[in-house]
């Protein structure tokens, strides 16, 4: 593929994920109490830490979304995106293997049919791969960002 095609592909992915992340976090920012219950139900964190995570994680998602859309610090936001998605995938897998039939809390809260499932794991891993793709393209020394600056 031509580098221009890659460029547009990356832009589309960034915008799509950016919008998705901001949409996904809105519900959590507005209803932190519900999100806290979702986090607690994974039975990974002690309850003393649950509220702090419920307060901060949605803002991490918003921050990743905004930086992806506006193209700010792309290598860092792509790295955070990949790391976060890998983390979520591991959490969901651990919930499934422990036999927990709980709400995923992935995109919206309290939507029926959003329970933890292998489909959610695949979605998260897909997003992680998108993150790695963006990270790869913005890794300095690969020439692309230099080329872009001279354009």
């Amino acid at each position: 593929m031509k580098s221009k095609t890659w460029h547009w592909l990356e832009l589309v992915i960034r915008l799509a994920i950016g919008v998705l992340f901001i949409y996904a976090s809105a519900d959590k920012v507005l209803h932190p109490d519900k999100f806290a219950v979702v986090i607690y139900n994974y039975r990974v964190l002690p309850f003393e830490l649950v509220n702090l995570v419920a307060i901060l994680v949605p803002w991490l998602e918003i921050m990743i979304g905004v930086t992806l859309i506006f193209g700010i610090w792309l290598e860092t936001s792509a790295f955070l995106l990949s790391a976060l998605m890998l983390g979520f995938a591991v959490l969901i897998i651990s919930a499934i293997t422990r036999g927990l039939n709980i709400e995923c809390g992935c995109f919206t809260l309290s939507e029926s049919g959003s329970l933890v499932s292998w489909r959610r794991v695949i979605e998260d891993l897909g997003l992680m791969i998108c993150g790695i793709f963006i990270l790869f393209r913005h890794w300095p020394g690969r020439g692309r960002s230099v080329v872009e600056k001279t354009n």
């Binding site: 932190p32 109490d33 309850f47 003393e48 901060l56 790295f79 020394g141």
Partner: protein
């Protein structure tokens, strides 16, 4: 390579700092803001103290603290449950899923599945807050009778009990049960 990793690390830390400032700031100003550490209520189950965390906003927590201080949620055994039942003053609330309720429940009990109750508490909203309520589920491994009782207490109900022996103990004792019913 190293330079890039360093850049990512530094920028991640900066983003992290930004998130902490914005997130905690928003949480502070929002009417739905959470306390940084979840409040919890201690209940005694079969002689052991259990902490039930309450994931509620600061405002709701401020309200329920005073209530919880006055009216601790307490466990009752089969004997007490029977007294409540024959006395006829208490309303028994079945915290299990509706299918379980349908398959058999304590006579006169109302189905209030805890999983749905978390999102919609309309079924008990119109009740007088001084109504005597007894929650139960399967017993033993089942936590939702306790969780439901604690949430009811948060809502302002002042006479809440949980019957931990639950359906298993009640039906094994040959006490009155009913099958079927409405959600």
């Amino acid at each position: 390579m190293n330079q890039t990793l360093k850049t990512i690390l530094i920028r991640s830390l900066l983003i992290g700092g930004g998130i902490i400032i914005v997130g905690l700031g928003f949480n502070r100003l929002s009417p739905r803001g959470l306390p940084l550490v979840a409040a919890h209520q201690s209940v005694i189950v079969q002689g052991r103290v259990q902490d039930i965390p309450l994931f509620i906003s600061r405002r709701a927590a401020a309200k329920s603290d005073t209530l919880a201080g006055q009216h601790p949620v307490e466990e009752i055994d089969l004997g007490r449950a029977r007294q409540f039942f024959t006395g006829g003053v208490a309303i028994f609330l079945d915290a299990r899923e509706f299918e379980d309720y349908w398959a058999g429940h304590i006579e006169g009990a109302v189905s209030v599945p805890y999983t749905e109750f978390q999102d919609n508490s309309a079924s008990v909203e119109q009740l007088d807050r001084s109504t005597c309520l007894v929650t139960y589920c399967d017993g033993d491994e089942c936590q939702s009778s306790i969780d439901l009782a604690v949430r009811l207490s948060e809502m302002g109900f002042t006479d809440v009990w949980f019957y931990f022996g639950g359906w298993n103990e009640w039906s094994a004792a040959g006490l009155p049960i009913v099958k079927g019913g409405r959600p």
